[in-house]
Symmetry: C2
Subunit: 80 residues, 2 copies
């Protein structure tokens, strides 16, 4: 089945990439952009059913490798 | 309001980063992972109401700067 892990920079951590995107959008003439945060969207095709066990496995993967828990939060969605 | 732009490598385009993640997960002992694709999750705080005009503005931003339309698809979600 399909699953998605969304990785976001923690709110209290600076995101220079997001700031650069915001400034670039402004320079291109796009107005009204107050803030931009750039995260990762990791889509996984994995064996198993949409149950708590699978979700727990994906959370372990995210914690161990997909995200850096010091500066990033992650969210796992099944069937995404 | 908040909006999200999800940027994914097109299905017909190779994703070496995703393949590297899949192999690394396997090496770490995570089984059953058939495929991994790594995309971007761009979250934007923008002035305006959740209407088709705002969605069109965000789609222009995505097409002009956030995604590379040659190799990537994007999806805009309002209020995400």
């Amino acid at each position: 089945m399909k699953a998605a892990v969304m990785v976001r920079v923690k709110p209290e951590v600076l995101d220079p990439q997001g700031d650069a995107v915001r400034r670039a959008l402004e320079k291109l003439g796009f107005e009204g952009v107050r803030g931009v945060r750039v995260g990762k969207l990791i889509e996984i095709e994995i064996e198993g059913d949409a149950d708590p066990t699978l979700k727990a496995r994906l959370e372990k993967m995210a914690d161990a490798m997909l995200a850096n828990p010091v500066i990033e939060d992650f969210e796992v969605k099944l069937g995404a």
